[in-house]
C-alpha cells in the first residue's frame, strides 16, 4: 500500500533538511544553556528586582507558544522598524524559549546542591564567581543532564516550527515532498524515522555522558 519508490530522489533534499534541523537545534541548545545559566542566577538572586525580571522572562518565554514568538519577531517587529534575518530570528526564538526551560531545569540542580559545598569553598577563599564556575556549575550540569537531554530532544522537534519564517528544515521538506507527490504517509513516516534516529542518538549520547561522569562521581 505504501510506495517508497520516490524516496531515493528525495533523500538528498531530506538530508539538507536534517542539516538545518541539526544546526538550529545545536545553536538553540548552546544559546539556551548560556542564557539559561544567567537567568537561573538571576532567578536565585537576592535582589527582588532581578528575581522578578527573571520570573517574568520565564513566564513569557515558557508561556507563549514558540510559533507565536517566531511570528511576532519575524513579521511584527519589522512594522516598528526592527528587521531581523530569518535564521537569526529562528535561532534567537528557539534559543530563548529553550533558555526558559533550561533555567528551571538548572535551578533544580542548584537547589539540590548541599550548601556545605559552597561553605567549604568560601572557607578556602574562593570568591562567589569562582564558586559558581568551578564548584557549582560542573555539578549542576552533571545532575541535570537527563533534563537537558530531554530539552534537547524537544528542541529538535520544536525546530519544525521555524518553517513559519521561511527556513526549510526536515518537517517542511517532508511536507513539500508529501504534497508534491501526493504521498503524505510515505514521507511523514520517513520524517518520523529520521527524527527518531536523531533523537535516539541524542538520548544515547546523554546516557553515555551520564555514565561516563557518574562512573567517577558516584561509586
Amino acid at each position: 500500500m505504501l510506495d517508497f519508490s520516490t524516496l531515493p530522489v528525495a533523500l538528498p533534499l531530506l538530508w539538507d533538511g536534517v542539516q538545518m534541523t541539526l544546526f538550529l537545534s545545536l545553536m538553540a541548545v548552546v544559546l539556551g544553556l548560556m542564557v539559561g545559566v544567567l537567568m537561573c542566577l538571576a532567578r536565585l538572586s537576592s535582589h527582588y528586582a532581578v528575581r522578578f525580571f527573571a520570573q517574568l522572562y520565564i513566564s513569557l518565554f515558557r508561556g507563549v507558544p514558540l510559533l507565536v514568538q517566531l511570528m511576532v519577531t519575524y513579521y511584527c517587529l519589522p512594522l516598528i522598524g526592527i528587521n531581523i534575518p530569518a535564521l537569526v530570528a529562528a535561532t534567537a526564538c528557539i534559543g530563548l524559549c529553550a533558555s526558559a526551560y533550561m533555567t528551571e531545569i538548572l535551578r533544580g540542580g542548584f537547589l539540590s546542591l548541599p550548601t556545605g559545598q559552597k561553605e567549604s569553598a568560601t572557607m578556602v577563599g574562593l570568591n562567589q564567581f569562582q564558586v559558581l564556575l568551578f564548584i557549582e556549575l560542573p555539578q549542576v550540569i552533571r545532575l541535570t543532564i537527563p533534563g537537558i537531554i530531554n530539552e534537547a530532544i524537544l528542541l529538535v522537534k520544536a525546530s519544525s516550527l521555524i518553517s513559519a519564517v521561511g527556513i526549510t528544515e526536515l518537517t517542511r521538506i517532508s511536507q513539500n515532498l508529501a504534497s508534491s507527490n501526493f504521498q503524505p504517509f510515505e514521507f511523514y513516516l520517513t520524517a518520523a524515522g529520521i527524527y527518531f534516529i536523531i533523537n535516539s542518538m541524542i538520548s544515547a549520547f546523554g546516557f553515555w555522558l551520564e555514565a561516563r561522569i557518574n562512573r567517577r562521581v558516584i561509586a
Binding site: 513579521y75 511584527c76 519589522p78 521561511g166 513539500n176 504534497s179 508534491s180 501526493f182 503524505p184
Partner: protein, 248 residues
Amino acid sequence: DVLSDVKSKGELIIGTELHFAPFDFLDNGKHAGLNKDFFTEVGKELGVKISYVDLPWPSVLPGLEASKFDMVGGPVTITKERMKRYNFSLPIADASVALLKRKGNSAVTKPEDIAGKPVGAGKGSSQAAQLEDFSTSLETPAEIKLYVDNNSAYSEIMTGRVVAVANSLPNIAYVASQHKNFEVVLPPFGKKTYYGYVTRKNTDSESLLKAINDIIVKMKADGRMEDIQVKWFGNPMDLPTDMIVPQI
C-alpha cells in the same frame, strides 16, 4: 522604489508555498510549476536572478507586509476584500471552484450532489468561501470541513470523512491527472474568479507591479504564456487582458 532596488541588487525575491501543484511544487526533488516557468521568464526580461522563499500559507501575506520578500509569486485568488489591502497583477489563471472526488464515486456526479454531505476545503481560501455560498443555496446545505493543508483535505477523500474537496479547477485537475484515485466533478460552480500575483499596496511597489504586468502582456503576445499553460494545464487558458473587477 522596489523595482530599482531589485535591479540594483540583481535579485527578485518571491514568497510562495511549494504545496500547490501545478503552480509550485517539487518535481523529482526540484522546484517546478507554472510559477517557476513564468518567473524564469521575468528574470530574463528584468535581467535579475529569481529566488524563492517557501512559507506555510498563513505566513505568506504577513511576510509580504513585513517586506520579507518583494512579491508573492504563489497564485492568490483576486477578491474585493484582498484588493483593498494588496495590489494584484493581471490574472494569470482561472481560479473557479470545482470539486475533487474519489474515482468512481457515483454518489457525486454534479456539484449539487454534495447537499447534506461532508465536503472539505482549504481554510481561509476564497474557494472555501465560495463553497459556503454555494452550499447555502442548496436545499440541505453541505457539511463543510476546513483544512489547514490542502493535502490533508485530499487525504480525507480517501479516508471517506469527506465525499469531495472544493478547490480551484487548475489545482484539482492537476491532482486528478497525477493520482489515479481521484477525479474531478465538472462543471465548476460559483462565480468566475482568477488568480493573480500580489505586491504590497504602496507607491514603492507600483513600478514592480507595472513591470510584471508588462511582462504578462508581452508573453501573451509572443505565445510564451500559451506554451506554459499548455505545459501545465494541458490546454491554453483564456484570460482577460485587462485588470478585472472581482465578483467576490
